[in-house]
């Protein structure tokens, strides 16, 4: 199938145009370790490829390098018939800088090129008109004026693209200069002749900024928006997560009730559906988070949030854009690691991804709740305003954040001279504020779910099955204690003894490497409490009576703050950093650090 490729500057409305041309069916190709995403869809008889937005063909980082390499390859490919270069009509000069570079390349490769002048509806609202015929004459390539949002001129563009694709030889660029100085001068000259006055377009944006970036109101607005984001991942996602859990449980029951009791239904119930459920339940949360971050990004606020957070985070070697991933990490590390893709500097992105697992994710919540109920008396002060257990919760969250900042600081020092990791300075364009369009957002949300399942499913599945087998065999009346897992727990008891913990905690800790919340259920089984997940207080009383020392309990809590007990996170880290070494290295390093912290804590109290 012949191919049309879409290129353009960031924020030029390229993704929306891609969606308008191709409809909602698309494929996304990712490349390990970088944020490059190539979207492919179909328009008429052509394959359309959407390239990442770029400012220049001359690259600064590895991410850009890969994107531009792919572009060069696509340009050479004989299947590529038309290059459509999107220009933001409200930022004509900046769009042309990249546009003219692409035109020169198209000329060199003998490819037809067409300029798509997008967002002319915004120009119309200012009563400005760009004469596309004249612009086309001066550029030496066809120009179509459209609005991907209001669909103005979209039919003409579609017809034009089909015509040009079938008569590609008549539309090779007539002009095209290789010299970068000429490109800059030419885009400036053309902008002077055709573009709308910049102050007119930027007035609205600057007015909103004077509120949203104001040191007082801006700070408040920031806190409110982040609070809503935080709420959304917990409250909006919760009912969907429950529904998924319920559906999986229902399905498992439907399938297994018709079977004879035995190993097979136990396997299907415990390993297959149990394992499936433990990670499918995160899909809604990931999708809701992607939706909210997508809304922030497409509306233009994300750039402002990064600006506000940049200075404080830069002390720790992080970028302003590290803030959203950190915040998301309090819900679940997986979408948080994926959202680190918005960090422009590869080096800061790596440090952010490496430290996200230290944020207290929602899977740690049941563990915190149980151990706090065991260790901290339920006392309130100041007429119920301050609750001792509440303070303990808060302190644990803060401890996680503090550890993340400390680790960032250390990694930053340690990797200071690593040439393989480019560091890009903070140069951020503040795009216009726009109402997000549902089509690209919908795509993004759908892709995030698919992406997660495809990446994390295999490894989670294997570990689930392994732990299930260890806990199930050999079968006896004594249950978990006599299983291989139980024997393993007793065998490695010496490892946990210095932490003041016996073999039962050892097993619960090992099992919770699958997912942390398993800890509560496993301890419940070992202490003989049914349904410990729902009934924490019964288990807490049992543990208290059993004589868990305060020091050992506190050590265990700190262990859970720091340890990377989540295979799904390790799998995501591996995929996103493109390095098995980093992912499993972190697993080991955080495990050792957690152990050390617990070891010291037991001795302090």
């Amino acid at each position: 199938m012949n191919r049309i490729i879409l290129v353009g500057k960031p924020n030029s409305g390229k993704s929306l145009l891609f969606n308008q041309l191709t409809g909602l069916r698309q494929k996304v190709a990712n490349f390990p370790g970088v944020t490059v995403e190539l979207k492919t869809g179909q328009f008429a008889d052509y394959e359309v490829v959407d390239f990442p937005g770029a400012y220049s063909l001359k690259t600064l980082s590895k991410d850009e390098e890969i994107a531009i390499e792919k572009l060069h390859a696509a340009m050479q490919d004989e299947k590529t018939t038309v290059i459509a270069c999107i220009l933001d009509a409200t930022r004509l000069e900046r769009s042309l800088t990249f546009g003219l570079q692409v035109q020169a390349l198209a000329k060199k490769q003998n490819k037809a090129l067409v300029f798509v002048l997008n967002m002319v509806d915004e120009l119309q609202s200012f009563d400005h008109h760009i004469d596309e015929k004249q612009l086309s004459e001066q550029l030496g390539s066809p120009v179509y004026a459209i609005s991907a949002k209001t669909l103005l001129g979209i039919n003409e563009l579609k017809d034009g693209l089909k015509h040009i694709a079938s008569h590609a030889h008549d539309y090779l660029p007539l002009k095209g200069t290789d010299s970068s100085l000429d490109v800059l001068k030419q885009s400036r000259d053309l902008a002077q002749q055709f573009a709308i006055q910049a102050d007119l377009v930027l007035k609205k944006q600057n007015r909103i900024d004077s509120f949203l970036l104001n040191s007082v109101f801006g700070g408040l607005a920031f806190l409110v928006i982040m609070f809503l984001l935080f709420q959304s991942i917990f409250t909006w996602a919760a009912p969907i997560m429950d529904a998924v859990e319920f559906a999986i449980g229902w399905l498992a029951q439907k399938i297994t009730t018709s079977m004879e009791p035995g190993i097979l239904p136990d396997f299907i119930n415990g390993a297959l559906f149990g394992g499936l459920g433990s990670f499918l339940v995160f899909v809604p949360q990931i999708m809701v988070l992607t939706l909210v971050i997508g809304l922030l990004e497409d509306s233009g606020y994300l750039a402002r949030a990064a600006l506000i957070c940049h200075k404080p985070l830069s002390y720790f070697g992080l970028s302003g854009r590290s803030f959203i991933p950190y915040l998301s990490g309090h819900a679940c590390a997986i979408p948080a690691i994926l959202s680190a893709r918005t960090i422009e500097s590869p080096r800061k992105r790596l440090i952010t991804m490496m430290t996200i697992p230290l944020m207290s994710c929602s899977a740690r919540l049941p563990v915190y709740a149980l151990l706090i109920a065991v260790l901290i008396p339920e006392k309130s002060y100041l007429g119920g305003l301050v609750n001792l257990q509440g303070i303990a919760f808060f302190a644990l969250y803060m401890f996680g954040i503090l550890m993340a900042l400390m680790v960032s600081l250390v990694v930053n020092k340690f990797k200071a001279n690593d040439d393989k990791l480019d560091d890009m300075p903070f140069i951020l364009e503040l795009p216009a504020y726009r109402l997000p369009h549902w089509k690209p957002l919908f795509q993004k949300v759908l892709n995030s779910g698919k992406h997660f399942v495809r990446r994390a499913a295999p490894i989670i599945f294997m570990v689930t099955i392994a732990i299930w087998i260890l806990g199930y065999f050999p079968q006896s009346d004594e249950g978990l204690q006599a299983s291989w897992l139980g024997q393993l727990g007793q065998w490695i008891e010496p490892v946990f003894e210095p932490l003041g913990l016996d073999w039962r905690y050892g097993i619960a800790i090992i099992m919770s490497f699958l997912a942390r919340e398993v800890f509560v259920g496993a301890l419940g089984t070992l202490f003989g409490i049914e349904g410990a997940d729902e009934n924490i207080s019964g288990l807490a009383a049992n543990i208290q009576a059993d004589g868990l020392t305060f020091g050992a309990g506190m050590g265990l809590l700190l262990f859970y703050v720091v340890a990377l007990q989540c295979v799904a996170t390790v799998a995501t880290l591996k995929a996103e950093t493109g390095s098995r070494k980093i992912a499993w290295g972190l697993f080991v390093a955080y495990g050792l650090l957690a152990y050390l912290l617990a070891f010291v804590t037991v001795r302090l109290f």
Binding site: Y55, S56, K58, L60, T90, R91, L92, E93, R94, T97, F98, S180, L184, R188, A191, A195, A198, V201, L202, Q205, N206, D209, S210, L213, S215, A303, L307, I308, H310, K311, P312, S314, G320, P425, F426, I427, L428, E429, L430
Partner: protein, 76 residues
């Protein structure tokens, strides 16, 4: 003086991009509009020496200190 020394609402003309930026970053800055001879306006300063916000040609950018202090300009 440099871009970093600008006060809010001040306008200047870019004189030079310092060599300290390196060729790659300098080239990108020029492509983004930070060319010698261009007018640039400071729209906003952030508290605690945070990134500043400038308008150049048709775009608005936010730059951190390490970049801004390497862009030399003349106040007009």
């Amino acid at each position: 003086m440099t871009l970093w020394d600008m006060a809010t609402k001040q306008t200047g003309r870019i004189v030079d991009l310092s060599q300290e930026l390196g060729t790659h970053i300098s080239r990108r800055l020029r492509e983004m509009g930070f060319e010698e001879g261009q007018l640039i306006t400071c729209i906003r300063r952030s508290p605690l020496q945070g990134p500043l916000v400038v308008q150049i040609r048709d775009s608005v950018y936010s730059l951190e200190q390490s970049v801004a202090r390497n862009i030399k300009l003349q106040i007009i």
